[in-house]
Amino acid sequence: MKILIFSLLIVSLVYANTEEDKLKKTALKPLVKQRQEIKHQIDSFTTGIDQFLTGREFSNRPNRTKLTISNQFNFKEAGEVEYQPLVNVDLHLPNLEKLIQVKLSSYDVAERNEGVDKNRIEEKSSEESFGTSVNFFKEINKFKLQFRPRLEFSPVVGISYLLKFSLKQAISQRIFFEPTLSFLAQPDDGTSQYTSLNIVNYVSRKSKFTFINEWEYQNIDHTLQANNGFSISNDYNSRISFLHMLIFESNNRPTYNLDNIVLSTGYFHKLYKGIIHYSLRPYVSFAREYEFRQKFGVQFHLNLIF
């Protein structure tokens, strides 16, 4: 019954998309105007930083600095609705672009995007951790290298590091082997290693099937966490996409065993492209903690982009 309600909700959202143009012209008009003013101020500020750091004239390339205000709502069966606002700034400095991308963010990007949690829908919420990071990218033959120190300001001042090697190797015309090796060092968790051996099948121009195999090892408490499963993603059009996942989560506490099975489906909608994006992700989990009994949940993310 619950799955049916979620499915109906998603179908109704798809049809609601046809009303989008009307929305743009009416309800969102004041917001768009205000957004343009804020965006202009952000661009002037970042251009000043760029000129100060490089001592060069203004670049003709467009400024792609983005300020994102993200509102995350999580609801799990027999639980309360959790709300978490996040702020993320992707600071674009055209004159330094060849070497450096600078990022400012209010959450720990490494923890969210580089560990096993990135494919875990009901994992802990991002801990509030204001900070700034600098990304260095280098391509050596087929390998992509990323090094990212991050200065954090809360709860205490600290530094975290990410060193990441990744590769995209073609197995056939549509199937690619995409391994990743990341070394993480974080003020609260110490050092850890993350490995992924994903195989991606680009079924069509709009759809892909990913076979997920990833592990993360924490050196301090010697814990190993693993995700195995698959995901199917599909771009319905330039603004709407779907993501379906089945993930088997394991850990080595007390011994290596299955900890959770999560089946999820996600609806991602760029309501006003580059300004308002939202996603709705209903899921059902079978956790060892609840003796593998089903628990339903839903995540709703609303992003305002400047």
Binding site: F147, I159, A185, P187, G190, T191, N219, I220
Partner: protein, 196 residues
């Protein structure tokens, strides 16, 4: 003073021999071995702190003809010492020591670096020596992360075909230490440097 004279003489000789080399700062990869010793200043603990060794690698990026940015990773088993009222505790912390900073090239063969380093716990902390009620003393080793300022003098020993051999003396000054604690260390890095 004698050591300073010897060091200066050694440096001048090396620079003279190496005067044809003209590398300076360049995008490069550094791999080498590091020896280090924690400076323990105590009347109670009369043993010599052992010289230990580890592995290090790093990168350097050119910023301008005389200036560079550097980052390096060192895998250490550093000692931390703390004493209080005649009792002491000596602990060993396995750590990944990550240093990121700035390097100034006075001449292509001689450079000075200054960086901010973070030491991340990479395993379990062990007691090496405890005296009296020293077990109740908490050292910085038990902190997951501790920070320090790193200064270095780097000398290029030999250079050929964009590859060189360097020797780098470093001093680490910890600023997240506890009361009556010794954790500053000196290190000598002998490394192979490859221009990318």
């Amino acid at each position: 003073m004698n050591f300073v004279k010897q060091f200066c003489t050694f440096t001048i000789i090396l620079i003279s021999i190496n005067s044809q080399a003209n590398t300076g700062p360049a995008p490069s990869l550094i791999v080498g071995a590091i020896s280090y010793v924690t400076h323990i200043d105590s009347n109670q603990f009369d043993k010599q702190s052992p010289v230990q060794s580890g592995f290090a690698f790093g990168v350097e990026g050119k910023y301008s003809p005389q200036h560079a940015l550097q980052a390096d990773f060192q895998f250490l088993n550093k000692l931390y010492f703390r004493e209080d009222a005649g009792n002491y505790r000596l602990q060993k912390k396995p750590q990944v020591y990550i240093n990121i900073g700035y390097r100034f090239y006075l001449i292509p063969q001689l450079s000075f670096g200054l960086g901010l380093a973070a030491a991340y716990l990479n395993g379990s902390v062990k007691d090496i020596s405890v005296n009296g009620t020293g077990a109740s003393l908490e050292t910085t080793a038990s902190d997951i992360t501790n920070y320090s300022l790193d200064s270095s003098i780097q000398l290029q020993l030999f250079e050929s075909n964009n590859k060189s051999l360097i020797i780098d003396y470093r001093y680490s000054f910890g600023f997240t230490l506890k009361e009556n604690e010794d954790l500053n260390h000196s290190a000598l890095l002998l490394a192979y440097k490859v221009m990318l």
